[in-house]
Amino acid sequence: MGWVRAIIHLDLDAFYASVEQERRPELRGRPVIVGGGGDGRTARSVVSAASYEARRYGVHSAMPLGRAVRLCPTAAVLPVDFPAYRQASTRIFALARALTPLVEPLSLDEAYLDVTATPGDPEEMAIRLRDQILAETGLHASFGIATCKTVAKIASDLRKPRGFVVVRPGDEAEFLRPLPLRTLPGLGPSTAGTLAGLGLRTLGELAGHPAALLERRLGKAAAHSLTRRARGIDTSPVVPPSTTKSISREETYDRDVVDAGMLRERVRHLSADVGRRLRAAGLSARTVSLKIRYADFTSLTRQCPLDGGSDSDAAITSGALALLTATHQPDRPVRLVGVGVHNLENAAQLDLFSAPRAARERHLDATLDALQRRFGPGAVHRGAPAPELRDLDWRHEDLRET
């Protein structure tokens, strides 16, 4: 049987700890724990990652750091250095994208690749990718290769670290049959408990159990999806992320703000900042949101559409101010205000009735952006309230008047 679909699940081994070991050769082969801010205080920190050497002592991620250090006193405890991990991750995913554009990262160290349309044998492609990652970054990864995401992920997890498991087309059900229920991604302790109550222990038993009998306990959709996946049937696609999902900016005040005029001024300022970053990314937004946190820490977030999408300060500001007017209770002291834009795309439908005004706004935005690039943020900003872009130019003509 040929590869109808070929999905690779790539999962780096003890990623954060391995990055640390890679850049500090003296740590190689030694237990390494990544966690905390590096200030020596372990009381409130947890383990973000542990090398396999540390895991032998019973250390695992999300464990309180203090406890981890007691379990493994010889471990090197290092602060979390996200920029370094992100950099390594970017290099690895770039190698993956050279193989196929269909790369769906799940986190910095884990991704699905759909190589169905890439010429060649999926197993050989994965071997090449594994060798390239090791050569370029010194990092090891585990691979699962199968016809769907569910089976590929289970396969990569089976022989970690440095695992390499291929499940050939048609072998899915056989491969899954002996595995315990919890190996199925998304099958949590509560569902596993329910299934155990029905006498089910393995994926094979789950696959053989009539879905109709599960429906009553789990609901129709969940029962159907679980039995299908337990048989190795999963048609969910590998979806590459759309680049930027949202842009937002918020600020917390040293002293709570009550003055309405001051709040509106801050919303204008935040909107302009978001607008500048939106334009710098070459995007426009279809939604604007406003976040308010009051002094008593109750928060609210509201959003409204930007008709057809926009990247102009005026549109974002007028949307955010309208949300402020609609939701804010005037006398409550405010601790935090945030403005965000969402549903971003790199195209914007223009509006017939605001075309001339929009052209002027565009020119003004571009001028302000250029000045800020040259002289820094805060060098110049809009003084007057942004005009309402939403007004139509109505013609007063009506049959009923004549």
Binding site: V239, P240, S242, T243, G282, S284, R286, D307, G308, G309, N343, E345, N346, A347, A348, Q349, L350, D351, L352, F353, A355, A359, L392, D393, W394, R395, H396, E397, D398, L399, R400, T402
Partner: protein
């Protein structure tokens, strides 16, 4: 309950014989005005009432009222309301050429006898049916039904679905002398159609109303060759419009409010004119639309050197590129439009050749059939990187 005494009841109100197929076709049009989820039970019903010429069937959701006259032999005058969907489905199932309908005044039960079948339907007293909007003026003007049907199809597509701006969910009807203009816009595109109207009243007829686009759609649906003319009348209060057809009347509330000044956004000039086969462009735009997957479905047009090139790309899906032979006058230009709007415009125009009048990447463009002035679409571009 089938224990009704046979024979003529002394309490009968409304008795007539009618052809089930004629009644069925009228009911299918009239039922479009029935509220699917009304809090008022009688609004789920259709009103049946006898008239000199036959049986009138009427349904309303208070915004839209549709009534049709069905040829019938009236034996006894009367009125009743019965569930519209039930009656329509039942009558559609009858094979006989005629059926008799009669109502028991006391129980408001409608009995339909057809061949050997006898069926009783529970009705609601006609007095419960809301009073229908009264047409208090004679038709102001009349238009050719087929031309109006086409005009509605060509414009209603551009009306907005956004209830936030109610006037834009309607189609503007503007009559001036013997010319009727239909206009619709959703702020991103605009459709304008002119057709000839025959003025029926004395003096100058001039004025503007806004009719819900959906209601005009129901009018367009009712038009066929047996209904060749459409008369247009208004209520005295000027808040209702009445479209009268041979055997039907459709009335709609008007949308209150001021319509944007659409004439000022129709470009008078263009910097680039492109003329090419409408079919070729339509086909290519359809293919490109498949790949225009972003929210604003952008399809890029590049005009120059005797060619119009259509490009569409989507990060997730792929890209599409199609050069088409075209007559290009003026500046070379690149502009993007929502593929949906371009397709709607091309599908709405007559003629073999389409004329695109472009004004650069940020200004409105005009799509029309080459040499035709009765219909045009203005489309605002999508700004692309």
């Amino acid at each position: 309950m089938n224990n009704w005494p046979s024979g003529t009841s002394t309490h009968t109100a409304l008795r007539c014989t009618v052809s089930p197929s004629a009644l069925s076709s009228s009911l299918s049009l009239v039922s479009r005005a029935v509220s699917p989820r009304s809090t008022l039970p009688v609004l789920s019903n259709v009103l049946l009432e006898t008239e000199a010429e036959g049986l009138r069937v009427t349904a309303t959701n208070l915004d839209l009222t549709i009534s049709a006259l069905v040829a019938a032999t009236v034996l006894e005058e009367g009125r009743v309301t019965v569930p519209a969907r039930l009656l329509a489905e039942y009558v559609a199932s009858l094979d006989e050429t005629t059926c008799t309908m009669e109502v028991d005044e006391r129980t408001q039960m409608l009995r339909i006898t057809s061949g050997v079948q006898k069926t009783n339907l529970h009705g609601i007293d006609a007095v419960e049916f809301p009073p229908l909007p009264a047409r208090e003026t004679a038709p102001a003007f009349e238009v050719d039904a087929a031309a109006l049907q086409q005009a509605i199809t060509q414009t209603a597509v551009a009306a907005s679905g956004d209830e936030q701006t109610p006037v834009l969910t309607g189609v503007l009807l503007h009559v001036e002398g013997s010319e009727l203009t239909l206009v619709a816009t959703d702020r991103h595109r605009l459709a304008v159609k002119k057709l000839e109207a025959q003025v029926l009243t004395e003096g100058v007829v001039s004025g503007t109303v806004i009719v819900p686009a959906r209601h005009l759609g129901e009018l367009a649906r009712a038009i066929n060759p047996t209904r060749p003319r459409v008369g247009v009348a208004f209520s005295d209060a000027r808040n209702q419009v009445f479209f009268t057809l041979r055997d039907m009347e459709i009335s709609s509330r008007l949308i209150e409010g001021n319509y944007p000044n659409y004439t000022q956004v129709i470009p008078a000039h263009s910097t680039t004119t492109v003329v090419l086969s409408k079919e070729l462009l339509l086909k290519s735009a359809k293919t490109a639309a498949v790949l225009a997957r972003d929210a604003s479905n952008p399809v890029r047009l590049r005009a120059g050197k005797g060619e119009l090139e259509l490009l569409a790309q989507s990060a997730e899906v792929g890209d599409h590129d199609a050069p088409l032979p075209a007559k290009v006058d003026g500046e070379d230009v690149q502009v993007a439009f929502n593929a949906r709007y371009l397709l709607d415009a091309l599908q709405a125009i007559d003629g073999e050749d389409a004329e695109l009048s472009l004004n650069g990447p940020l200004q409105p463009a005009v799509v029309r059939a080459l040499g035709r002035d009765d219909y045009l679409c203005v489309i605002m571009p999508v700004r692309v990187p």
